[in-house]
């Protein structure tokens, strides 16, 4: 037993207590997280230099060109881009870093295009006008867009069978690669102008119509034991996925390291030295235990960061203590299954390159939960979700999705799934141990799946 723990500790120390693991596993993700929270919103808001150019309008309706020019003027566009209200900062209670970033990004005005609107004569040849759009690029300035508004876009005599007027449209031609945002600003301005002109034509007040049709609603609030907060909405859906990905990440990282160290021990021929001191089963169990600690460390650190985030957002109550308990229980069983497969593959090959073909079925199994978590999380009590959570070897992942969902399964279902995981873990572990025992001292041609099955029967 003592030797098994010695092996486990060496396995853990040689993996987790290295600069590479600490930097790659924790420091780099932490830096990325900080950058995402603090800098990314500001960087995303910065749109680069403003676009300058001309917009030509052939207004066959004869009533909207002037209003479009007004709407596309720099004064109006700047006013639209400015924040509605600038938040006040309380010096006694300064905002947290993540709040500062959101606040900054909200008050930063976005880049406003400087557009000059030319109204062209009605007899202008559209094809000839379009020719100018072929010259240069959108960044060079010049003519950026040509809008052709139908004669009956605002007023029409044409009506359908029900007597509803059938209005004309407008057509917008733009330079290739003109920014989407500029295109939509131009489209929106033309649409708004035509709509308001139609309303006025019909003797209606645009302000009144806007007021009648706009319904303001406050944010949905959740009433919790501590008070109330904004509804977490989509988080109900993302939380199960988050738990599953956390579990998957810990299982995969631990399993992958186990594969690598097993192949290294075999290829560096240190394995026979080890086998003179411990049995193959002790060696495999020790290695699995060591990498289990690595997986647990990853899960605790990353899960801890997630939970800390929820605590700061005052949403910690959405995670039940029992979810954490089941997460560890199902992680342990899922890890044993995947790690056993990895150890078996590692012992059977001579180098990492050879492991790829044998890894394909393992990777295919690992992909299944990624593909299934969304439908299971959307309908966690449906037949599909229930079946998935009983189907080894993916049942552990699927059950944690269900447990973390808004409709947690009945306890008996969790226990049945757990029992299925225990039995399948035992079967996989036994098979893997047999392959491990035979494979460790087999060199030469890497085996295929058929050979692995033969080894299981042989051992």
């Amino acid at each position: 037993m003592n030797r098994m723990f010695l092996i486990a500790w060496r396995e853990f120390a040689s993996t987790a207590l290295t600069k590479g693991f600490i930097i790659g596993g924790f420091v780099v993700p932490a830096v990325i997280l900080v950058v995402m929270i603090t800098l990314l919103p500001i960087l995303l808001k910065d749109e680069g230099p403003a676009i300058t150019g001309e917009v030509s309008i052939i207004d066959n309706s004869g009533v909207v060109a002037e209003d479009i020019a007004r709407r596309l003027s720099i004064e109006v566009l700047t006013a639209e881009a400015m924040p509605i209200e600038v938040p006040e900062i309380d010096p006694e209670n300064p905002p947290k870093p993540e709040e500062t970033a959101a606040m900054l990004s909200s008050v930063m005005p976005s880049a406003v295009p400087e557009l000059t609107v030319n109204t062209l004569a009605l007899d202008t040849d559209v094809e000839e006008a379009k020719e100018l759009l072929r010259e240069g690029t959108a960044d060079d300035g010049g003519l950026l867009a040509l809008a052709v508004i139908d004669e009956n876009a605002v007023a029409t005599m044409d009506v359908d069978a029900n007597g509803v007027p059938k209005f004309g449209a407008f057509q917008l031609f733009v330079k290739p690669r003109l920014k989407d945002k500029v295109q939509s600003t131009i489209r929106r301005s033309i649409s708004d102008s035509i709509r308001e002109a139609r309303l006025e034509q019909a003797g209606l007040s645009p302000e009144m119509i806007n007021s009648l049709t706009r319904v303001n609603a406050g944010r949905t609030k959740e009433i919790t034991e501590e008070g109330e907060r904004d509804s977490i909405g989509g988080l109900n859906m993302l939380l199960p996925g988050g738990f599953m990905i956390l579990m998957m990440m810990a299982v995969m990282i631990g399993g992958q390291y186990l594969l690598t160290t097993t192949v290294e021990e075999k290829s560096s021929r240190v394995v026979e030295v080890l086998l003179s001191a411990v049995s193959p089963m002790q060696l495999m169990t020790g290695k699995i235990l060591g990498q289990l600690m690595v997986g647990l460390l990853i899960m605790i650190v990353y899960g801890g960061v997630g939970i800390t985030g929820l605590v700061f957002a005052a949403m910690a109550d959405i995670i039940d203590a029992m979810i954490i308990f089941w997460l560890f229980a199902f992680f342990l069983l899922a890890y044993i299954q995947i790690a056993s497969m990895m150890a078996a593959v590692g012992s059977a090959v001579n180098e990492m390159r050879e492991a790829q073909s044998l890894m394909t079925p393992v990777m295919a199994i690992m992909m299944i939960p990624y593909l299934l978590w969304m439908p299971v999380a959307m309908n966690p009590s449906g037949t599909f979700a229930v079946v998935c959570s009983f189907l080894p070897p993916v049942n552990s992942f699927m059950m944690i999705v269900r447990i973390a969902s808004t409709e947690p399964p009945a306890l008996w279902q969790i226990l049945v799934s757990l029992a299925i995981s225990v039995v399948s873990s035992y079967i996989i572990l036994r098979g893997a141990a047999k392959i491990f025992r035979v494979g460790l001292l087999m060199y030469g041609k890497p085996p295929n799946l058929k050979t692995l099955i033969k080894w299981i029967r042989m051992a």
Partner: protein, 316 residues
């Protein structure tokens, strides 16, 4: 006192290949046994079965009085043929790790590791990573890892491969020293001269079968090739003159002089007297059969016997 190893009718096959066939062996405690034979003869398979790394298909096995080496792993030191180190681990850490796996207590492990590193002249590289060492240095570290727990039985599979003559001598002296302190040693090699220099007893394995198991001097006397090495003063002496001496069956020129085969019935002592009388010589001596010669003779006899059995089978 019971024997260190007792093996009876041991068989092991890998698929169609019979790696070990009906092996019987007794290794008394305190002896230094040499396992010799060409590559693929079955030496390593036999050793792996002794170590319980692989298990026999059938047969009896007892190691240090126990039915399996697993029960006495702490009393066994093993330097396998396929050996390696953890490349990223420091030398001292590696030796200490292996010692702990072999049951050395935490309180003594550091002192023992440093003592052994000093004995093999590697104390100054204790904090270096294993990957930074030369092949010879790595070999010595592996040797230290196999003996640090002061085993009762030490099994060395090709311990000299990759060593220069100086380190080879150092290791040879250490092996003798360990054996003199009472440790039973099994030394396996395909380089037969190494076994000749070191071992008291030789076990020769060929095609998975033990073909020889005796003390070295007994083997030599049994396989007396009835040859004499003869170096005449006059380098111009030809074979006709030598064949003219009564009792000389053949004379072959070699780098060292002439190798003379004797007729049956003529004793080597008498032949030396006759040759010295007939031709003036700088050196006349009985040629001692090397293990290599003996092995080749056995293999040749085996092939002849096989062919004979085959032809007899065909005739029937």
């Amino acid at each position: 006192m019971d024997d260190a190893i007792r093996i009876g009718d041991l068989h092991k096959s890998f698929g169609e290949k019979l790696a070990v066939r009906g092996m019987d062996l007794v290794v008394p405690r305190g002896s230094l046994h040499g396992f010799i034979g060409p590559n693929g003869a079955g030496k390593t398979t036999t050793i792996r079965m002794i170590m319980s790394i692989i298990f026999p298909d059938r047969g009896d096995l007892s190691v240090l009085g126990k039915p399996s080496a697993i029960q006495s792993k702490d009393q066994i030191g093993y330097l396998p043929e396929e050996r390696g180190l953890y490349k990223k681990m420091k030398v001292l850490a590696f030796i200490k790790y292996m010692a702990r796996l072999k049951g050395v207590s935490d309180s003594t492990v550091h002192k023992r590791a440093m003592t052994w590193l000093e004995r093999v002249g590697l104390a100054d590289i204790a904090q270096k990573k294993c990957e930074e060492l030369s092949k010879g240095m790595q070999q010595k570290i592996q040797f230290v890892a196999s003996v640090i727990h002061e085993p009762e039985l030490l099994i060395l599979d090709e311990p000299f491969s990759g060593l220069d003559p100086v380190n080879m001598r150092l290791l040879r002296d250490l092996i003798r020293e360990i054996n003199e302190s009472g440790t039973t040693i099994i030394f396996s090699t395909h380089v037969m001269t190494q076994a000749e220099q070191l071992c008291d007893n030789i076990v020769m394995i060929h095609n998975g079968v033990k073909v020889l198991d005796d003390p070295l001097d007994v083997i030599r006397s049994r396989f007396d090739p009835r040859s004499i090495l003869f170096e005449p003063v006059d380098g111009a002496v030809d074979s006709h003159r030598l064949l003219g001496v009564e009792g000389v069956a053949s004379a072959d020129k070699t780098d060292e002089g002439w190798e003379i085969r004797l007729d049956d019935g003529l004793s080597p002592a008498e032949a030396i007297a006759r040759l010295s009388g007939a031709i003036e010589a700088t050196r006349v001596e009985v040629k001692r059969p090397s293990l290599e010669d003996i092995f080749i003779q056995i293999v040749e006899d085996d092939i002849v016997a096989g062919e004979l059995a085959e032809s007899m089978g065909a005739a029937q």
